[in-house]
Symmetry: C2
Subunit: 243 residues, 2 copies
């Protein structure tokens, strides 16, 4: 039903902003631990956990964009885990020890294998600053970046915690334009999350969707500027001037 | 992680507001038609369709609460159907005729069997006005109310279309307080959707969650004032003065 907006003319990007969870960090790298704790249900738990985590961030900001119902991403991640376990009738097995084990896993998520090499290539080959713009709260992001071996690769690690509003609220995306003193269309925003790509496109960013799972484009009336199956395609996209 | 807010003291409700889709109307009554069109996939399509429909309403309002990305619920429902079909690799089978058939089904959803009898009981037994407060746009709601045999049972049929903001945005919930000239805590808000109950509770409504599926309470830090498995429990709750 919704008309697709055509992307604006090519730009020479002044910065590249990365979504973190699901894009750089593989949120489903917790599956192995979940499977050990809940045999046969690890994948289902991981999927529902992630879905509720995103839903809770959005509900809290939507109900009051000024942040009255804001809770840090860490707390929401615990809440989502508890809900997911209860929904799957695993609450009795989610002992304090099991919860701690899963949250520890979440603290040190694996990066997708193509992420660190591509970030290094981007830094070496182009004179474009890189940054993270994440829903994660600063202590979470700090540990995650370090444990994934991404230290020193980013000029900024921006957390929506500064504005107490989760993506796709405009206040969250505006952290990126403010950090670089650039217009949205001068910044490439990278995410694997379709909803995040739509939100960033609405905000005006030049979006690149890393579509690792071969999902369809979200039916939200905005097309990503670029789409690729992994980080190598992002490097090629930047090389072509983010056309 | 989130502390549960305890409900306020008992009230004598001045109005009862009903969420429509999923609460009065069974959104999964489309499964039979979906199953005929896509054998073995009807349930999966219906579940994903509904999930994307809710997600798209929330994303559009969250990205701009003033309504810049608002689209009517009918359009979003079509968008969500198209996405769900594509995601399940059924896009080639979603012909125009199939899409029309499913949207026709959506236009005339069945009411849950306990809904009309309970609404009639509420009207007969109590001097409390009843209303719908729905994400549905007015033409959709109009047909749905008529085709489900609910004509004349409601004092108001309120659509968020009037404010171009979807629940759980406060502007959407405020349609109810405005229609009745009452404070939120004087109005009982009824929904089967956990996220909607949380949003209504944040707004200040006295909430009653019709938990047909035996789901856990959402981990959003707000408890429903009342919970029941169906509409009969709502009637009993009102009889007790919405304690």
């Amino acid at each position: 039903m919704s008309a697709i907006t055509t992307p604006a003319s090519p730009i020479s990007p002044r910065a590249i902003l990365f979504d973190a969870y699901g894009t750089l960090f593989d949120v489903h790298s917790v599956v192995a631990a979940a499977e050990q704790l809940f045999p046969g249900r690890g994948d289902a738990l991981s999927q529902l956990w992630r879905r509720k985590q995103i839903e809770y961030t959005q509900l809290r900001t939507l109900a009051d964009p000024s942040g009255a119902h804001y809770a840090p991403f860490w707390d929401i991640t615990v809440d989502a885990l508890r809900y997911a376990a209860a929904r799957l009738h695993l609450a009795d097995s989610l002992t304090r020890a099991a919860e701690k084990r899963l949250m520890d896993e979440y603290t040190c998520l694996s990066a997708f294998p193509d992420v660190v090499p591509a970030l290094k290539t981007l830094r070496e080959r182009f004179d474009i600053p890189l940054a993270i713009l994440s829903n994660g709260n600063p202590p979470m992001l700090d540990i995650a970046v370090k444990s994934a071996g991404m230290n020193g690769l980013f000029d900024h690690v921006l957390s929506v915690d500064a504005v107490r509003a989760y993506k796709p609220a405009a206040a969250a995306y505006a952290l990126g334009t403010r950090a670089f003193g650039a217009a949205p269309r001068e910044i490439v925003f990278v995410s694997s999350n379709g909803w995040n790509i739509a939100g960033a496109a609405w905000f005006g960013y030049a979006t690149f969707w890393i579509n690792r799972g071969g999902a369809p484009v979200e039916e939200l009336g905005v097309a990503p500027r670029g789409i690729g199956g992994g980080m190598a395609e992002l490097v090629a996209f930047i090389e072509r001037g983010a056309p």
